[in-house]
Symmetry: C2
Subunit: 147 residues, 2 copies
DNA sequence: TTATTTTGTTATCATTTGATAATTAAGAGG
DNA sequence: CCTCTTAATTATCAAATGATAACAAAATAA
């Protein structure tokens, strides 16, 4: 297979995405949550239900710290923890009702800020963008839970 | 304009990109650099030359802290600082030779890890992906330096 | 049964990062 | 000249995060 390298660089793309996302999410982040706590909420929102170990693995933070931060999130009534039935060591983690509401509101704001950036684009442009998002999502930024 | 919302959600895309990128850059990050310091290097690599104020603005960190961390980066011989000629208050910041080399090596590794994910794709797929990256870059994740 | 592994908790300490005030130096404008 | 603003530095303290050890409880294997 002739794998000549891309004319376009992933790194450029990633840095750009990262910068814009940072800028947009900046004034959307709720008060009273530390960055790490927000990261956890984000992860749980996208991968619910999950376990402490999985959280710890995927967010690259030691289990004791994950446990500590999750405890705080429970105290803030944003997360729920529940022992598994088949394996009672495992703690299954979900967002609470409050947590769901919070994250949905935040996601909605982010979504609308991005759509604002596209307000001068034609319907055709929007469709192209939509297709590009889908394509990259399925072909590149898929997550293989096998590793 | 009929701005019906996208079938595909930006937030899903962003979270996915963020997770994959995190995973891929994790074992690429150099020893002896704190996360913030790496973030600074990344920014400088992409926006060189820049100033302390700009760094502070874009990375959402207070100027004194930016100054402190940059000083450490200078001590590690990864950044250079130079007073402006027209306005001698401004400090223009670039990567040093070492810094350039370090970041290029890291970017290269990230790049190749992404290409690894695509090793089973056809040439046609790769072209489509390349086009999608370009499209999103120019239409969505462009940075307007005007704000 | 006993030993071992997995999952998570609690406690503790070091490091990193955030936040703020005080200060210096240079430019802008009166 | 003097005042005001901007860019950056230094110092300091609080808060968040990282890292590690010791422990407990449930599953698994011997």
């Amino acid at each position: 297979m002739d794998k000549k390298h891309f004319p376009y660089k992933f790194v450029d793309f990633l840095i750009s995405v990262h910068q814009i996302t940072d800028k947009i999410t900046k004034d959307v982040k709720p008060e009273g949550l530390t960055p790490v706590q927000f990261k956890i909420l984000e992860y749980v929102a996208a991968n619910s239900p999950t376990t402490l170990s999985q959280l710890s693995d995927c967010l690259h933070m030691p289990l004791p710290n994950t446990s500590r931060e999750l405890k705080k999130l429970e105290e803030k009534k944003l997360c729920k923890k529940e022992s598994g039935v088949e394996d009672r060591r495992k703690q299954y983690i979900c967002l609470s009702e409050n947590g769901e509401a919070l994250m949905q509101e935040i996601f909605k704001k982010v979504e609308s800020k991005f759509l604002d950036r596209l307000k001068d684009d034609s319907q055709k442009d929007l469709e192209e963008i939509d297709n590009a998002l889908k394509l990259l999502y399925t072909k590149v930024f898929y997550s293989n839970h096998t590793t």
